[in-house]
């Protein structure tokens, strides 16, 4: 500092006053501000950026990185950032950035699926994606926050926010039921089939289904489901039955359900984990509801043609069971054939299900023995004369022989009797004849002779004669002969005559009919003539039309004149347009600036 002041005085020049600035230059403010702004932008971007998640799909059909959107209720909440393979190349993994406000959706149960156009029998959906391209749909779920998801191959049929109840059905066969098959309650659409899988026994099918609110309240532990797929044609001993639920179910299957009318409101049933049986049809619900079955065997001597497995077994006309098996047995010892028919009786049909009865508790052999003693017999009956179907009729026929074959002891045997329909009639006729044969005719004739002798004696007795005379008198006096005469007259006068008259009338009617037929023939020919005439008229009309056309096409017809005029006008118009266009071609600006002035030359 001192040195400087000295030098200035030495050279007598104004010494520059150098003041050392305290602190850095103002220029540094610019990078600092830039850095702050940059940092703020980075912070803002980062803070606004939502989470990035990964979704695994089996294929990435139609998905494009940077383009495919993630939508929730049709509002865009994210975009696919990149697509790459999983480590084993079996799947594709999508990296998706989700907007911040939608990050709440990312929970354990959240589901993703690809929305693409779908055309099925049930109709077309998502056709707009044909133009806009596919997108991912998200369905928010519950659970802990999550970042890695496995996408669904197909869109879930029932959204999580839809009220209702998921149920599981157990079926013997799937039939035409498929994902999306309708579930009906009294013909109303009450739900849908979500999917199906084979049970662990590799035989039964588990069907996942969803019942929409308010129908889900109808589901109880005693609810019964049955298949209404297609047309149910059933030919049995009671004829042909055709049934279908709706046209929709006819085309692609369906399930119907029904609940018992009695609903126990007091006890809230826990239906979780309950598996319902899906019956093949409505009828089989009834059939399969009888769990207890007792097998019996019957032996028939006559042909069982027309008897089929599942043919009903009826007791006094009420179905109590069905035929299980029909076999043919050969006995080599005496070279005879036997037809054992195995039937099952559902005793629950006979007595109340809840009632305990000795019939159920006792040994069926004992019960049967008692019944047979009372006259229980089986016989074949024709169910339908047209189809020739047979069924087995059980009834009490006391005083009939007990025909027991006692072939094998595994099933109790019910004795059979020959059916009434044909064989029994024949047998009874035979019986009558046999009885007639066994009559002692000689004795009878002797007795008759004796009776006749006695009668003659009786008639010859004077008392009897008197009695006969008396009767004669009575007859004459009472006018019995008159009555007989009257009857005769009546026969003559009314019965026969009316019959004859009727016949006459009938003949008359026939005659008139044939006459009418004759008369008909004439109008037909008349009609033909008329038709020919009208045909002629039509031809004449056609002639007129052609003449008119000719006139029109003639050179001096008004039409021709006008047509020529029109072409002339058209010609002029075309000319005017051509000239205008030509002028524009030559002077494009003449529209604005007018025609070029050339002057006379």
């Amino acid at each position: 500092m001192d040195k400087h002041t000295e030098s200035t005085t030495e050279y007598s020049a104004p010494a520059p006053e150098i003041t050392k600035r305290s602190g850095p230059s103002l220029v540094w403010l610019i990078p600092v501000v830039t850095a702050i702004i940059g940092g703020w932008i980075v912070f803002k971007t980062l803070s606004e950026k939502g989470p990035e998640i990964s979704i695994t799909f089996r294929t990435a059909a139609g998905i494009e990185a940077g383009k495919t959107k993630v939508k929730y209720k049709d509002i865009e909440i994210g975009v696919v950032e990149s697509i790459h393979f999983s480590d084993d190349f079996s799947n594709v993994i999508l990296k998706v950035s989700i907007s911040k406000e939608a990050s709440l959706f990312l929970r354990r149960d959240t589901r993703f699926w690809i929305v693409k156009p779908r055309v099925t029998l049930r109709g077309a959906s998502n056709l707009s994606t044909l133009i806009s391209g596919v997108y991912l749909e998200i369905e928010p779920g519950q659970g802990a926050p999550h970042r890695n998801f496995i996408g669904l191959d197909v869109a879930p049929v029932i959204k999580a926010d839809e009220a209702g109840r998921k149920i599981m059905l157990l079926a013997k066969k799937l039939g035409s039921i498929d994902t999306g098959s309708p579930i009906y309650y009294q013909g109303l659409l009450a739900g849908e089939v979500l999917g199906h899988e084979v049970g662990s026994d590799r035989k039964s099918i588990f069907i996942h289904a969803f019942i929409k609110a308010p129908y889900d309240e109808l589901i109880q532990s005693n609810t019964r489901f049955w298949n209404v797929s297609g047309i149910d044609v059933w030919v049995g001993a009671d004829g042909i039955r055709i049934q279908t639920e709706s046209l929709q179910s006819l085309l692609y299957g369906g399930i119907a359900f029904d609940s018992q009318d009695v609903k126990d409101h007091n006890s809230e049933e826990n239906l979780d984990g309950l598996i319902f049986t899906l019956y093949d049809d409505f009828k089989s619900i009834h059939e399969e509801s009888f769990s207890k079955k007792i097998m019996y065997v019957l032996y028939f001597e006559r042909s069982v043609k027309g008897l089929e497995v599942n043919a009903p077994v009826e007791f006094k006309g009420i179905k109590v069971g069905s035929v299980v098996d029909i076999r043919l047995k050969f006995n080599s010892a005496n070279s005879t054939f036997k037809i054992p028919v195995l039937i099952e009786i559902e005793p629950e049909r006979i007595i109340g299900r809840d009632q305990s009865d000795e019939l159920l508790d006792d040994n069926p052999f004992d019960v049967l023995g008692r019944l047979i003693d009372k006259g229980l017999r089986a016989q074949l009956q024709t169910a339908s004369l047209i189809t020739g179907q047979l069924f087995i009729e059980l009834d009490l026929h006391p005083h009939t022989p007990i025909n027991l074959k006692k072939e094998d002891g595994s099933y109790p045997e019910i004795p059979t009797i020959k059916s009434k329909t044909f064989e029994q009639t024949a047998t009874s006729v035979k019986n009558i004849l046999a009885k007639l044969e066994s009559f002692d005719i000689e004795n009878i004739s002797e007795e008759i002779l004796g009776v006749a002798e006695g009668a003659i004696k009786l008639v010859n007795m004077p008392k009897i004669k008197n009695i006969i005379n008396g009767i004669d008198k009575v007859v004459n006096e009472s006018g019995l002969t008159e009555t007989l005469k009257d009857a005769n007259n009546l026969m003559k006068s009314q019965g026969m005559e009316t019959a004859l008259n009727d016949l006459k009338e009938s003949l008359k009617n026939f005659k008139s009919i044939s006459q009418k037929l004759d008369q008909r023939a004439e109008p037909i020919t008349k009609n033909l003539e008329l038709a020919v005439k009208s045909g002629n008229a039509a031809l004449e009309k056609a002639d007129d039309t052609i003449a008119l056309l000719n006139n029109m096409l003639e050179p001096d017809s008004p039409f021709q004149y006008r047509f020529n005029k029109l072409t002339e006008e058209l010609d002029e118009t075309a000319r005017a347009i051509r000239i205008f266009v030509e002028m524009l071609e030559r002077n494009p600006n003449s529209l604005i600036f007018g025609k070029k002035y050339s002057g006379d030359k």
Binding site: D556, R575, R586, I592, K595, Y597
Partner: protein, 210 residues
């Protein structure tokens, strides 16, 4: 403030557009277009004594075709050997072809002393004694200030398929046209066309007399 600015712009744009549109009306002194027409010949004596054999001749001009370059309202002149000039302010009044049809029919009826000369369009197929078919090849003022006329024509008699005469007539105006006035040109053209009519009429009268 902003609104006002917008309004100013709008006003400016609209007014400039109007200026552009209307400039055609005010730019320069657009002279009135003059219209011309060919005239038939002055009333003259018939060409020759034609033995009409009781009835006047009937003549039909079947068609008279013009070259494309003449089918326009502007009067066409040649400014060079191959160069044409269209007079934007001197135009034919109406269709030149129809005008020529009219003039020729009047000339022929004058020359052949008959009123029955029909021109297209025809609305009936009346039969005529003579049918004429003309193809104009050129009909304009050339750079040499002479009007040139050239036509190929055919004459049919009694509706026969074969023409009785087929000729090419070339005519040039006798004296050059003085000045730039179209009046002179048109009157020279009328005279030349009249000459062409005489050529045809002479041919027809020759055949009539035969």
């Amino acid at each position: 403030m902003k609104l006002r600015y917008n309004k100013t712009i709008m006003f400016f744009a609209a007014s400039s557009f109007l200026v552009v549109i209307l400039s055609g009306c005010i730019s320069g002194k657009a002279p009135a277009t003059k219209f011309y027409i060919l005239n038939p010949m002055d009333s003259d004596q018939p060409l020759a004594k034609i033995s009409t054999k009781n009835k006047p001749l009937s003549i039909k001009i079947i068609s008279q075709r013009l070259p494309q370059y003449l089918k326009r309202p502007q009067i066409v002149t040649r400014s060079g050997e191959h160069q044409l000039e269209l007079a934007e302010y001197d135009q034919w009044a109406g269709n030149l072809g129809k005008n020529m049809n009219q003039v020729l029919s009047r000339n022929l009826s004058q020359l052949l002393a008959t009123a029955d000369v029909s021109i297209p369009p025809f609305y009936n197929q009346t039969q005529c004694d003579f049918d004429i078919e003309i193809n104009i090849l050129e009909f304009e003022k050339h750079a040499d200030n002479h009007v040139h006329f050239s036509a190929r024509w055919r004459l049919f008699k009694n509706n026969e398929k074969k023409p009785i005469a087929a000729e090419v007539t070339d005519l040039v105006s006798s004296k050059p046209i003085i000045g730039n006035r179209f009046d002179n040109t048109i009157s020279e053209m009328s005279k030349l066309y009249e000459q062409f009519g005489r050529v045809i009429a002479r041919e027809i009268s020759n055949h009539v007399n035969k």
